[in-house]
Structure formats: structure tokens, C-alpha cells
């Protein structure tokens, strides 16, 4: 990440370059595992597969903090720029099937975040919004015919809250992704141009609780939910991913931690869900339930 930052006043600053995107509670710190109790952040909201495209933007931010006297304080960020292009990320990987190859993925994004440090000690609440406008260009490798995806709409409002008291930490987020895409392809048999539109209303969120029992031990759990399309049948395994995770974090020293985390996952979403389940990796199909054990040893400054 490279950026320049200048603060004119407490309530007005600017930064530009490749800037971490402020969206929800942990978007800009999702790559800093030592800051979180979890080995994997709730994948409904922070999919590891999409991190390279969601964690930052190439552009500029305007930000600031405004004290509201007895009402706490507000921190705002408004940003705009380009979506980082990652042809090896989860989005492209999820599209890669039936011998498709993609060579370009780019677009613009704008967004804002407003977070309120409330007068109630330990309570933070906020809302974010991001809009993306991306174009993806590829080919059907077998026929070398174009296969393009144009985003007509990609809006994500997000709401979140965090409460900490003593060694207890409770947080939760809710997002809704409204996405309309237009896919243009050429039939290798007839040469006809096919145009199809897909309209998706994805809803996602989680609730988590963590408690630090000792300087070296923190235990927590979260429930994460992702609905691929709210308008479709929720119970279908290809339309949801539910994840109940239980974690123990052991701080071996100030610079080293060990996380042991179990995941009880129901559903797998669609191939374009970008939540870890891909048709390319599962040619024989996917199981409706998954059990996952993650053991993560981290070293940090």
C-alpha cells in the first residue's frame, strides 16, 4: 500500500494513493490477523477470496473527526477511485468454468463511511455505502469468442455496531448487495450474440462475541450468514452459506499468536458466491455441509 496523507484540521484530511477502504468494521484491517480473535473473519462479509479487490482502492479519501460534545463523536470518510484488478482473485476464479478465460477486470468505485462513537462508553455504531462499476472481459477458450460482463448496478449499504466492556467484545454487521450485471457472449455454433441480465439481491451479516479470559487467552464465537439471492429459496444449499465458528486465540507472546478455530458450515452458495466453494475445485459436486478446522500461527510486529 502506498499513499500520501495530509490533515488540515481534525475534521478535514485527505489521503491518496492505494488506500485501504473504510467499509464496515474490519474491511481495512482484514489482512491484519493479529488484530482479530478469528483465524478467518466472518466470510459472509469479509470473504478471503475477494480480499485483494475489496481491501483497498486506488484513489483518494476525504476524512475527519467531528466531536459532538455530549453526543460523542463522528468520524467520516468519503472516497472514490478504481477497483484494484486481480485476475487471480476469487471473483475471476468463480467465473472461470467451462473453459472461460478472463484477461481484464477493472472499474470505478465510490463510497462513504460514517461511524459514531456514542456517549455510551464502549459503543460504536456506523453505516457505510459503496458503489462499484466494473467491467470484466474474457473469452470462451474453446471457441475464442468474447465473453464480457458489464456491471449495471453494484450497490452495498452496510450497518454495524461494536460494543466492548472490560474483556468482552460483541459486534455485528449487516450488508445488502444489489447487483445487476449484463453478460454478452457469442455462440460458437451459430455466431449469434447472446445478452443476458442477472439481478441479484444478496444479504449478508454476522454476530460475534469474544471474551479475553486472561492476557494470553481469548475465546469467541460467531454466526455468519450469506444469502446469494434473497428472492430465491433460502434453504437451497446453493443459495446460502451459514457458518458457526468457535475460536480460541492463545497469545504466546506480544508478537506471536496461535488460533484454533472450528467451522460448522451449512450450504455452499453458487460458484459466483466467492465464499470458498467453486465448481472448478469440485467437479463431482459439493456437499451441503462442511466441517472445517483452522489452525493458524501468526507472527507480527
Amino acid at each position: 500500500m502506498g499513499l500520501g496523507d495530509y490533515s488540515f484540521k481534525d475534521w478535514l484530511g485527505v489521503r491518496a494513493g492505494k488506500v485501504k477502504t473504510v467499509l464496515g468494521l474490519y474491511n481495512d484491517s482484514q489482512d491484519m490477523a493479529f488484530l482479530h480473535p478469528w483465524a478467518l473473519l466472518p466470510q459472509s462479509v469479509y470473504p478471503l477470496d475477494l480480499r485483494s479487490e475489496t481491501i483497498a482502492h486506488i484513489g483518494a479519501d476525504v476524512y475527519g473527526d467531528v466531536r459532538l460534545k455530549k453526543l460523542g463523536s463522528l468520524a467520516y470518510t468519503v472516497y472514490g477511485g478504481r477497483v484494484p484488478s486481480d485476475l487471480h482473485g476469487g471473483y475471476i476464479y468463480g467465473l472461470t468454468k467451462n473453459n472461460r478465460h478472463f484477461y481484464s477486470y477493472s472499474g470505478a468505485m465510490v463510497g462513504a463511511d460514517l461511524r459514531w462513537s456514542t456517549p455510551l462508553k464502549g459503543l460504536l455504531a456506523g453505516a457505510s455505502f459503496v458503489r462499484r462499476d466494473t467491467d470484466t472481459y474474457g473469452v470462451n477458450a474453446s471457441s475464442n469468442t468474447p465473453y464480457d460482463i458489464d456491471t449495471l448496478k453494484d450497490h452495498t449499504p452496510a450497518f454495524y455496531a461494536l460494543y466492548t466492556i472490560g474483556n468482552l467484545r460483541i459486534d455485528g454487521e449487516y450488508r445488502r448487495n444489489l447487483k445487476v450485471t449484463e453478460t454478452t457472449s457469442v455462440s460458437s455454433r451459430t455466431g449469434n450474440i447472446n445478452v443476458s441480465t442477472r439481478d441479484n439481491d444478496s444479504r449478508l451479516g454476522y454476530v460475534s462475541i469474544a471474551y479475553r479470559f486472561a492476557k494470553w487467552l481469548q475465546v469467541g464465537t460467531y454466526h455468519s450468514r450469506y444469502y446469494v439471492d434473497w428472492g430465491e429459496i433460502h434453504s437451497l444449499p446453493n443459495n446460502h452459506v451459514f457458518d458457526q465458528a468457535v475460536t480460541a486465540r492463545v497469545d504466546l507472546s506480544r508478537y506471536c499468536d496461535l488460533k484454533i478455530e472450528g467451522h460448522f458450515i451449512d450450504g455452499y452458495g453458487s460458484s459466483s458466491s466467492d465464499r470458498g466453494f467453486y465448481s472448478a475445485d469440485n467437479p463431482d459436486g459439493k456437499e451441503p455441509n462442511t466441517r472445517l478446522l483452522v489452525i493458524r500461527l501468526g507472527f507480527h510486529l
Binding site: L3, D28, M32, R67, K121, T164, K215
Partner: protein
């Protein structure tokens, strides 16, 4: 005026709050460079400066927070003015640094080192134990 027993809980809460505030002030002095034009600071501003959301004093002068690495004054300051433990403060600063929003404030091993740095740095604000000899710095009130 008769003193009703139903006011006893409120009275004890008030007494406890006053004692707590007095005790915080008794354990730690908030200090600034002698050339700083302030003699007091609100607890909200003090907290904002050390949590890096405020970069200047009320008169517009640049403020540079200075911490101690540990000790009774450090613990008292974190507890009474920042509402954080040492571990949570470290996590907070790491979040700020690794999201590109700021730098961790300078910290020193002893009250004497904190006092020496504040004395030579315009705009510096730190904290020391109430027993620490102060030279080149002044204690300010926290309201």
C-alpha cells in the same frame, strides 16, 4: 430540610465518583511543555489526542501525545482517561498504523524520560507519576 435515606445510594455514588476522580489526579499528572499556552484540558480532548483523533489543542497548537511504556502512572492514565488496558491500547495503535491512518506515539521507559521529552518538545503532552520531579514542564488540569 430533612435528609431522606432514599438519597443514600446517590450520595454514595457521588462520593465514590469524586474519590475516583481525586484518586486519578493524585496518582498521575498530565504534563505539557512549558511553552504550551494551555493550563487545562477537557477529558474528551485528552482522550482524543491520545487516541489520535485530535491533533491539536483548543488553541490550535499541534499536540503530540507521549506515552510511558509501563508503570503505575501509565496504568492509572490508561484506566482513568482512556478507558483502555495496555493490550487494547497497543491493538488500537496497531490498527491505526496498519490501516495507514497514523503513527504510534513515542513512548519512554520512565517518567523521567517522558518528562525530559515533553520539556524539549513544543506541543508535547504526556503523563507522569505525581511524585515525579518536573523540570521544564507544567502540570495541567483535566476537566
Amino acid at each position: 430540610m430533612r435528609f431522606s435515606p432514599r438519597y443514600f445510594p446517590h450520595l454514595w455514588i457521588a462520593i465514590f465518583s469524586i474519590c475516583t476522580a481525586v484518586r486519578a489526579g493524585a496518582e498521575v499528572n498530565v504534563i505539557t511543555n512549558n511553552n504550551t499556552n494551555i493550563s487545562s484540558i477537557s477529558s474528551d480532548d485528552l482522550k482524543d489526542i491520545f487516541l489520535l483523533t485530535k491533533k491539536s489543542f483548543a488553541d490550535g497548537t499541534h499536540a503530540e501525545p507521549v506515552l510511558s511504556k509501563g508503570g503505575p502512572a501509565h496504568e492509572a492514565f490508561l484506566k482513568h482517561y482512556l478507558g483502555k488496558s495496555d493490550d487494547s491500547l497497543v491493538t488500537y495503535y496497531r490498527n491505526v498504523v496498519f490501516t495507514g491512518k497514523g503513527l504510534t506515539p513515542r513512548s519512554f521507559r520512565s517518567d523521567a524520560e517522558v518528562s525530559a521529552y515533553v520539556a524539549k518538545t513544543k506541543g508535547a503532552i504526556g503523563y507522569v507519576g505525581s511524585e515525579t520531579k518536573m523540570s521544564g514542564v507544567k502540570a495541567i488540569d483535566v476537566k
